[in-house]
Amino acid sequence: MLEVTDLACLRGDRMLFADVSLTVASGELVRIAGPNGVGKTSLLRLLCGLAVPEHGVVRWKGERIERSRDAFHREVLYLGHAAALNDLLTPHENLRFAAATHGHPTEAARCDAALARIGLEAQRDLPAKVLSQGQRRRVGLARLYLSEDVPLWILDEPFTALDVDAVKDLAAWLDAHCARGGAVVMTTHQDVPFATPLRVFDLAESAC
């Protein structure tokens, strides 16, 4: 589904990596590995089209992503370092806004169910500024439970700041997504047990 050819990334005036080629098929779970600073986040941002590569092409279902940006964005979900929460809005409001602007207007009940699934039903109506780091993280992740029909998930360190049970639940949910025919590309520093065979792509080999 996702096809990356000869990708190179320039940060400031330093070439982070070059000649990255990678294909992600449906049902695959890919982990981008490599030491800090090798450009894992930069690669994920290139994959979802937030950044423009110095060189190379990213294709989604055979189309260059910058050519059919809106169609591609309908089929990709990217969760980055920042949880994308506004401090003055409640988790519920933040979640509904995120879903609505991504073309999935969602009923309040489904948002509530997603928040309950991730263990935040008690914080439903508190402003996001009073949440802890881990809770903020979870509000961001709650979008995964509303996005079953989005095929490609690109996740930057999704397991950070989660407790053991939440990690297990999330891993099972990622497995379920791959079983449905979706694909996941992610970075993580934790060893998480997955049922799906994990494909590790070592970015350090392409580092400059």
Binding site: L50, H73, R74, Y78, G80, N86, F97, A100, G103
Partner: protein, 222 residues
Amino acid sequence: MLSVFLEVLRRDLLLAWRNRADVLVTLAFFTIVACLFPFGVGSESNQLRAIAPGVLWVAALLATLLSLHRIFAQDHSDGVLEQLLLSPEPAVLWALAKILAHWLTTALPLILAAPALALLFDMEQSATAVLILSLALGTPILSLLGAVGAALTLGLRGGGMLLALLVLPLFVPILIFGAGAVDAHLSGTGAAAHLLLLGGGSLGALALAPWACTAALRIAVE
């Protein structure tokens, strides 16, 4: 498609409501800047009447300038902007919604407060009406062009001063036609030409600025 526009507009208005102190501060700034001028140039009422349109326009311009960072800065720092740029809906739509929300929460209060300030400068009623009309037609250009400047300077060190340097020269024509409308009305030539130019400028900015703004936003998050 329209739902994204409405959703973003509703959210930004809700945020402005929860953060209403910001709106009031802008309004207070507008009032104070306007009230400084009599202390600087003297309280002779003929003179005040003569400078009033220019003073109120300059004050509105500066108040808008100070509020411009609000359009994108928060969303940029907490990652919402990234998510909006990943939205499958056209970016100009939500950018326009954000600009409209800015206009509604910044310019509209200024326009509503302007008649009270006009009283302080002893402006004639008909002149006040023309001033309000010129503000209503001209301030959308300030929000639209200002949003482009705000997007270009997003996340930069010293962004506020830089933003002023970028947009103030572009605001000069609006100041000329805005304040000029009142003068033209008072001199008897009629303000229609000025007001039409302001309205035309608003339409032109409406057609072009959102595109420049979204291009600048894409660059800013990269």
